[in-house]
């Protein structure tokens, strides 16, 4: 088995909630040793959010926590205790990189700001990721990705034109931030490997997420355009939408970009005459008459299981897919082939599932074989094996309450 690409990378992980832990999960998949610090007093909010395994809402059963922290070592520390802070300083000496996702003040208050850390480890890399960045009038505005998504304009881009916007699902920028965070951390690790220098990185989740809105932002700057949500309308596709399938709340997505795809759709839904219908002859006409067109397509799709429609249309070269629920994804032969869902042993639940790495490296594939830590699961391992503390010192830390 080839060695993992990040086998020599050591990360001290103060990240919490979603955007930060997603970064270190990605690096752990490729072999980085990640030590995740937790507090038993202020537990990670993701431990309190589902989906929960077997509907058990205790903090060890959250798949949201489990998915974002698989493969990491977990240690609990009460950072108000000086002895716990000494443990942190030893971990900084051990680490190549420190990641944190608190609001800007917190690390400074503990004495863990970059200037302090680089005094004990001159080539340390530190990645701070918070909602709005470490400086500026909103730097102390903390919270979840739904807040940054609203401030960035994403909420106002999901909805029906006759209703107020419904917004994207949950904490949208939390699913953008980790990707840029991993890029930033890897770039700094490469820089360090090439030059020997560490550095500090200030990653504002909002600022990275705005790259996903570069088109509307530039369009507004260049053309003064105003953006409103347009449901499933698309300027380059028609038909383009989500159509009812047989069953309760079952749907199939269909998108035609080319005239060939449109003609193939007419044949597939057994309405060959539509290809010559003057109402639908061009993309512009199909868009203008999309209410009628969508009705015709729906009359056909509603008769079939969405998977059946997907198969029929894809066989004819038409972009189509079941609007997948979790259950559909679990049974999706493509995701099965890719090994998307991975079963791993778990300290409290015996076994659980996590999602695999989202990409595959041909020579040094990811290794996803450990679950997320339970609270304090690796206290002994981290202190004894990673830091080399002896039994007396560990007993002393326990007695002190530092491992709280």
């Amino acid at each position: 088995m080839p060695e993992l690409p990040l086998k020599d990378v050591k990360i001290l992980d103060f990240m919490w909630v979603l955007a930060g832990p997603g970064v270190t999960r990605m690096l752990a998949d490729y072999g980085a040793t990640v030590v995740r610090i937790e507090s038993t007093e202020r537990i990670d909010p993701t431990r309190t959010v589902g989906p929960f395994q077997d509907h058990n809402t205790s903090p060890e059963y959250s798949a949201l926590w489990g998915n974002n922290n698989a493969g990491k070592y977990g240690i609990t520390l009460d950072l108000s205790r000086p002895k716990a802070r000494e443990v942190v300083f030893d971990l900084v000496r051990w680490a190549d990189a420190v990641g944190e996702a608190f609001s800007p003040k917190a690390m400074r208050n503990w004495g863990f700001d970059y200037e302090s850390l680089r005094k004990i480890k001159p080539d340390i890399i530190m990645l701070s990721t918070c909602l709005m960045g470490q400086t500026g009038p909103l730097s102390r505005f903390a919270g979840f990705g739904n807040l940054a998504a609203a401030l960035c304009g994403f909420y106002n881009l999901v909805g029906w034109s006759d209703r107020s916007p419904s917004g994207p699902f949950s904490a949208y920028t939390d699913y953008i931030g980790p990707r840029f965070g991993a890029v930033a951390l890897m770039a700094a690790l490469i820089h360090r490997k090439r030059t020997g220098h560490g550095q500090y990185i200030d990653l504002a989740q909002a600022e990275s997420a705005l790259h996903f809105l570069a088109v509307p932002l530039l369009d507004t700057v260049a053309n003064g355009r105003e953006y409103r949500p347009v449901a499933n309308y698309d300027p380059d596709h028609a038909p383009h939408g989500v159509y009812p399938a047989a069953g309760d709340d079952r749907w199939v997505a269909i998108a035609c970009r080319t005239e060939d795809q449109w003609r193939a759709l007419c044949l597939a839904i057994k309405r060959p005459e539509l290809a010559a219908d003057t109402r639908f002859k061009t993309l512009a006409l199909r868009q203008a008459n999309r209410a009628e067109l969508d009705k015709i397509i729906s009359e056909w799709t509603v008769r079939f299981d969405p998977h059946q429609t997907e198969g029929t249309l894809q066989a004819a070269g038409i972009p189509a897919y079941t609007v997948q629920t979790s259950d559909d994804m679990w049974r999706d032969p493509q995701l099965h082939h890719r090994g998307h869902f991975v079963q791993v042993p778990h300290a409290a639940m015996e076994k659980t599932y996590v999602e695999n790495s989202r990409f595959q490296l041909s020579r040094t594939p990811a290794r996803v074989d450990r679950a997320a830590p339970t609270l304090g699961e690796h206290n002994d391992y981290v202190l004894a094996n990673i830091l080399g503390y002896d039994e007396d010192r560990i007993t002393d830390l326990v007695a002190d309450g530092a491992l709280g």
Binding site: D54, N146, G159, S166, G167, M186, A188, Q324, S326, L361
Partner: protein
């Protein structure tokens, strides 16, 4: 950070962001386009709404910090030039359907022979292999396949996607991270490899781990206007203010219930709720709902009290309140609002790039991160069609005058 690294970017709109990220990090990125320009240049919106290959906002959005050449990869001579460029490259990024480039002798196996250190990044809808690898796709199709579309929209209507395409941006950002992991490994081993990014799997991350519900028996999550139905509880995220909408997290449990308690404390102090609501245990409230100790009717009543509180205040008032009291409330901004947001202005986020051929410079979204030792700089505006043909093919690849003219005559560049 990637100074001295060479990147060949063969992508369409499926992958342009990946090369731009590497360019932002300092790599020399060469965008390879077919003669006449990338098909992305035909995608709107256009500057002043006049179509044209040098007027596509869609092109500008994801091609800064790149140089550009034109090369006809349908011809043997064009492919040979690509082979020569790839022999010197550190990264090649492509987004063709699986099998397309190998069929033309430009697959990973074809190029590694001359350059074993090449990191070859492939971005596709469903991955390089598998029963649906050759499925036709679009942004909407990926959203459906990856488990996010079912979570978006109003429960009495079909699911809807975000009005601006997103799927391949997620995949492209993942591809950049993956490329750097492979490159980091190469610094030790000297060997490159192929990176295989599936947009379907990338976008699944935006479903917030709900795809795991089936294997762990956790119960499906489903869409609800301005929120979601999670574990049978209707969780609102969008609320009406007097002049628009705000988002607010009104949830429970040991971590998030603290914020809810602070909001209710404020409401009580200002006469906006009764004592019973003020004395409610918001930490335990979720469990009380789940076990039926609190009825869903009571939960709906509580939310209506909060809604009444919000509807009497402006977005700005509520945001000020959130900042002063550490609450989870933010205004729902338009794109215009984003451009005026004082935070981004104070941080000098927006970057101006001159477009000499336009009447005005353009303001771009700025660095995705602030690096202390090696800051991201905006060195180049997005290139024009074939802008660097001469500079790259003659100056760097060493083609002679006659050879260059011959390639131009044959329509290869």
């Amino acid at each position: 950070m990637l100074a001295g690294c060479h990147v060949l970017d063969l992508t369409t709109e499926r992958g342009l962001l990946c090369g731009q990220i590497l360019g932002d990090l300092g790599a020399d990125v060469i965008k390879v386009e077919p003669p006449g320009g990338s098909p992305v240049r035909a995608l709107g919106p256009f500057f002043k709404d006049e179509p044209g290959p040098e007027r596509s906002v869609c092109w500008w959005a994801y091609n800064r910090n790149k140089r550009a050449i034109t090369l006809n990869l349908e011809t043997a001579e064009g492919r040979e030039i690509l082979h020569r460029l790839a022999a010197k490259a550190d990264f090649l990024i492509e987004s063709e359907n699986p099998g397309d480039l190998p069929q033309r002798g430009l697959g990973y196996e074809d190029l590694r022979a001359r350059n074993p250190g090449l990191v070859y990044v492939s971005i596709t809808p469903f991955g390089q292999d598998g029963p649906k690898a050759s499925y036709a796709d679009s942004d909407l199709i990926i959203m459906a396949a990856g488990g996010t579309l079912i979570l978006y929209g109003d429960e009495d209507r079909p699911p809807i996607r975000m009005s601006v395409p997103q799927a391949y941006l997620h995949a492209s950002a993942d591809a950049a991270a993956a490329a750097l992991i492979a490159f980091y490994e190469r610094l030790s081993s000297g060997h490159g490899q192929q990176v295989d990014v599936a947009a379907q799997e990338s976008i699944a991350l935006a479903a917030q781990s709900t795809p795991l519900a089936a294997p762990i028996h956790g119960g499906e999550t489903s869409r609800m206007a301005g929120g979601a139905k999670m574990g049978g509880i209707r969780v609102p995220l969008v609320w009406l203010a007097s002049d628009g909408q705000v988002t607010c997290v009104f949830l429970f449990g040991p971590a998030i219930g603290v914020f809810t308690r602070r909001l209710v404390d404020y409401m009580y102090a200002h006469g906006a709720c009764d004592r019973a609501m003020h004395e409610t245990d918001w930490i335990a409230y979720g469990d009380m709902l789940a076990t039926g100790k609190v009825s869903m009717e009571e939960y709906e009543r509580v939310k209506s009290v909060v809604a009444a509180f919000f509807s009497g205040r402006t977005k700005a008032e509520l945001f000020d309140l959130a900042r002063a009291n550490n609450l989870l409330i933010a205004p729902v901004a338009t794109i215009g609002d984003v451009l005026e947001n004082p935070q981004f202005i104070a941080r000098e986020y927006w970057q101006q790039l001159d477009h000499p051929e336009l009447a005005m410079p353009l303001r771009y979204p700025g660095p995705f991160a602030r690096f202390g030792a090696s800051p991201i700089t905006f060195r180049r505006r997005p290139p024009r069609v074939g802008e660097h043909n001469r500079e790259i093919l003659m100056g760097e690849l060493g083609l002679g005058d006659r050879e260059f003219a011959e390639l131009a005559r044959k329509g290869i560049i």
